[in-house]
């Protein structure tokens, strides 16, 4: 197998894994939430979720029928040997995985308004690139963006006088009004930026950060914890029915802003948070960062 084939083959297998096995940090947190749950209805739902995770492995099937729009967040070294081919290869890997996993056909061409039937389309799979200078490696997150959890995402620009409490209120309002249909317990990614686009991008990045990780800026970390607690206390449990806590985590990503603008966005992940991170070296040998002890 040459390096191109090796990259393609590994990526297809990795997409398969992400569809069927949740990352370690998510499973850990779900276990914790299940143990802490006291409301009967919410407990019953956690039981179904864990039965489902077991069956996904034993029957070799995707955890959720909505295998989402496939998204790749790529951090590519400028010296990575396949840098010119990544886009094509990720497209091919998506096509192939759609057949073999199998994945649901989730690409509807806009304006034409027709399902392409291949799970690919214009800019789908969605690929986000970051350049890493002087590196010959590639690291990427694969994420399956389900419809239910994509639906409640929101981005806005506030006047700075709204303050961080304004951002918190925006996030809480979005969660209570729309997020409850996104299969809680939820991963809540918050972006604080300078315009609608930068905030949205940061919110997405935040939602892809590991559960339990903290923003290095102490005040941001403090806000993550405080918001996590407050949203948890609302009393929304699994599936938006009453329960102990419907929050898996609150992750915040931030940047500098224009003096007159405070961009804020929120992006949700559902309990079936199908995210995985893989890194390739220049020989296309891989390491799995979120699925310890798994070989593809």
């Amino acid at each position: 197998m040459n390096t191109t084939e090796k990259f393609l083959d590994t990526t297809v297998k990795f997409i398969n894994l992400v569809a069927k096995v949740l990352p370690d940090d998510v499973v850990e947190r779900l276990k914790e939430l299940r143990e802490n749950e006291t409301v009967a209805m919410s407990k019953a739902i956690y039981d179904s979720m864990f039965e489902n995770l077991d069956k996904a492995v034993s029957l070799d099937r995707p955890i959720c029928q909505d295998t989402g729009v496939i998204q790749f967040y790529v951090r590519v070294g400028t010296k990575f040997p396949l840098i010119d081919e990544i886009g094509d290869l990720l497209y091919k890997a998506t096509l192939e995985a759609t057949e073999t996993v199998p994945l649901r056909h989730n690409a509807v061409e806009t304006f034409v308004e027709k399902n392409t039937g291949t799970n690919t389309g214009k800019k789908v799979p969605y690929i986000d690139y970051e350049i890493v200078p002087n590196s010959s490696n590639l690291e990427m997150d694969v994420y399956m963006a389900g419809g239910g959890c994509s639906l409640p995402g929101r981005s806005t620009v506030m006047m700075p006088s709204a303050g961080y409490e304004g951002i918190a209120a925006f996030v809480a309002d979005t969660m209570v009004n729309w997020g409850i249909n996104a299969c809680p317990p939820l991963v809540i990614g918050v972006g604080i930026g300078t315009c609608v686009a930068s905030a949205a991008k940061l919110a997405k990045k935040a939602s892809l950060r590991r559960v339990g990780s903290r923003n290095p800026e102490p005040k941001a970390a403090e806000m993550e914890e405080a918001l996590e607690k407050a949203l948890g206390n609302i009393g929304i449990g699994a599936q938006g029915l009453p329960g102990k806590s419907g929050v898996m985590c609150v992750n915040i990503e931030n940047m500098a802003r224009h003096p007159s603008a405070l961009g804020a966005a929120v992006s949700f992940g559902c309990w079936a948070h199908r995210r995985g991170t893989i890194s390739f070296d220049k020989n296309m040998d891989y390491t799995l960062l979120d699925h310890k002890g798994v070989t593809l």
Partner: protein, 203 residues
């Protein structure tokens, strides 16, 4: 709470006794129908072969696989019911479906539909698609395949399909709407407390 099994065709009597929060399981025929299917049924006059009188409808877009000349259910789970709010009432009126299964709550119009047509809305735990697929005995028919795999009209035989938590009953009680009020109240309390801690702006 009472746990019970509903068998299709479901009668008015069967559903009248159900209250929000009850957990039920389904035996018999279940069909999938979601966004475009609802729109087609209500607006176009195209009628599927499968009769839905007393039937059970699932807001779901499954993953299916063709094995020989049969379809096999790989993975099936509920999708957000609210997206069907616009057409559900008319859909119930035209078809006579008795239980609508999905994810999350539905609105005022569907509540009226449930009261007038003696029908209920129930939720299946979202994302538990392998559990659900294991409760599907077989796919007996596939209609409207031109709409694509998620939107097609899949007809299935199911056994003890659930848990289904009743979220709108025939008396017009709405579990999710009731909860929403409670959540909103506690959200305001929590946010008032939290905002004291988030005074990071300089002045």
């Amino acid at each position: 709470m009472n746990n019970k099994i509903l068998t299709t065709p479901i009668s008015d009597e069967d559903v009248k006794s159900l209250k929000i929060g009850d957990i039920v399981y389904l035996n018999g025929t279940l069909v999938t129908c979601r966004d475009t299917g609802h729109k087609r049924r209500v607006l176009s006059g195209i009628v599927p072969r499968t009769d839905l009188k007393g039937g059970a409808v699932f807001h779901a877009g499954p993953i299916v696989k063709k094995v020989g000349d049969k379809w096999e259910m790989v993975s099936i789970g509920p999708t957000t019911s609210m997206r069907m709010e616009k057409f559900e009432k008319e859909f119930m009126e035209i078809t006579g479906a008795k239980i609508i299964i999905g994810k999350g709550g539905m609105g005022e119009k569907t509540v009226r539909g449930c009261v007038e047509n003696k029908a209920v809305h129930a939720v299946f735990p979202g994302g538990c698609a392998v559990v659900a697929a294991a409760e599907v005995l077989e796919i007996t028919d596939a209609e409207w395949l031109d709409l694509g795999m998620p939107e097609a009209f899949w007809v299935m035989e199911v056994k003890e399909f659930g848990p289904l938590i009743i979220s709108i009953d025939t008396e017009g009680n709405n579990l999710f709407e009731n909860n929403k009020e409670i959540y909103k109240e506690s959200m305001e309390k929590e946010m008032a407390e939290l905002s004291k801690k988030l005074k990071y702006m300089n002045y």
